[in-house]
Every structure is written in structure tokens, then in C-alpha cells.
């Protein structure tokens, strides 16, 4: 592989996973914190709150996964190699 292409791929992979983790990380932290505080205020709604949290976390985490896919494809199945 051309050394410039491999260097650019490694940099791009690092940027992809790093940047893709920022937003979902903040979002998941906020959502989980609010959910725990909601459960503390209303224990009788625990199941509903945890169910909603499960759905939202699944959607939020997929954004990280998309970045991870790009990074892994660049590292292990690079189409530009």
C-alpha cells in the first residue's frame, strides 16, 4: 500500500471513531442521568422510563457504530489500498 494512503487511512480512522463518539457520549450521559433522576422521583414509572431509555440508547449508540464501521473498514478492508 502507498505509505501516504496508509497514513491518511489511519488518521481518518482515528478521526472517524473519535469524532463519532463525542456526540453520542454526551447524549447518552444526559439521557441516562435524566432517567436515573426520573426513576428516583417516580419509582412507580421505572419500567416505562427504562424502556424508553433502552430505545433511545439503541438509536444513539448506532451513531458511534457508524463511525466505528468506517474506522474498521479503513483499517482492515481499505478500498483504496
Amino acid at each position: 500500500m502507498d505509505p501516504i494512503v496508509s497514513a491518511a487511512s489511519v488518521l481518518a480512522a482515528a478521526l472517524a471513531i473519535g469524532l463519532a463518539a463525542i456526540g453520542p457520549g454526551i447524549g447518552q450521559g444526559n439521557a441516562s442521568g435524566q432517567a436515573v433522576s426520573g426513576i428516583a422521583r417516580q419509582p412507580e414509572a421505572e419500567g416505562k422510563i427504562r424502556g424508553t431509555l433502552l430505545l433511545t440508547l439503541a438509536f444513539m449508540e448506532s451513531l458511534t457504530i457508524y463511525g466505528l464501521v468506517i474506522a474498521l473498514v479503513l483499517l482492515f478492508a481499505n478500498p483504496f489500498a
Binding site: 421505572e46 427504562r50 439503541a58
Partner: protein
Amino acid sequence: MTSQENTLPKTLAEADTPKEDHPESDSSTNNSMDEFYALRQELLLSTLVISGVVFFSVWWVYTLNVALSYALGASVGMVYLRMLARDVERLGPEKKLGKNRLALFVVLILVAARWNQTQIVPAFLGFLTFKAAIIFYTLRITLPR
């Protein structure tokens, strides 16, 4: 003594009694968690059904290898969803959300990329099958009938 006084805790120590001493509050928590367990069960079942339908469709349209790659991704996606649900179930002041389940996905992509019999795209799309189940569930409960 009025009825309102009867409902109030007599001492501070009584008010701070842990939840284990109140079986009725435990049962109400368990009842509220039933909704969560039902949602988890429904999502896993929907993912399984969608995976089965798509597996046979892919096998029919493409080849068995592509269908097996899809099945591999779908099974990893189900394990991922289970791990996410377990994390959400245990989430509290002491237990935070972990990121261990992402390792599962990394292993899936590595296997799909390195092993000649598997392909990345079907495995990745198989992994995303649980998201289709979530979207169907969300549409079902939000759209007016």
C-alpha cells in the same frame, strides 16, 4: 389522630427504612419493571422473526454464504441488544453504562473482514436488524390507529 397523621411516618428512622422492609413497594417496583421486561422480550422476538425472514430472502436472492454472513451479524446484534438491555436494567447511581458491547461489534467486523467466507456488508446489515425491530415497535406505538 387524623387520617393524614396516620399516613405520615412517625419518626425519621422509620421514614428512612430501606425498601426491602416494604414488600408492597417492592411489588409495585416489580410490576413497573414488567413493562420493561415485556418490551425487551418483544424486541428480541421481533428481531428473531425479521432475521429469519431476511435470512431466507437473502439465501433465495443471493447465495448461502451471503445469507450466513447476514445470520452471523443478526445473531451478534441480538446479543448486543441483550447486553444493552441488561445495562439499562442495572443502570443506577452505582452502576454506569458500559461500552463492552462495542467490542462484540469490533470482533464481528474483524471476522467478516478477515475470513474469506464472510462479507462485511451483509454482516453489518444483519447487525442492524435489531434497529429495524425497534423502528417497527416505535411506529406501532406512536402511529394513530
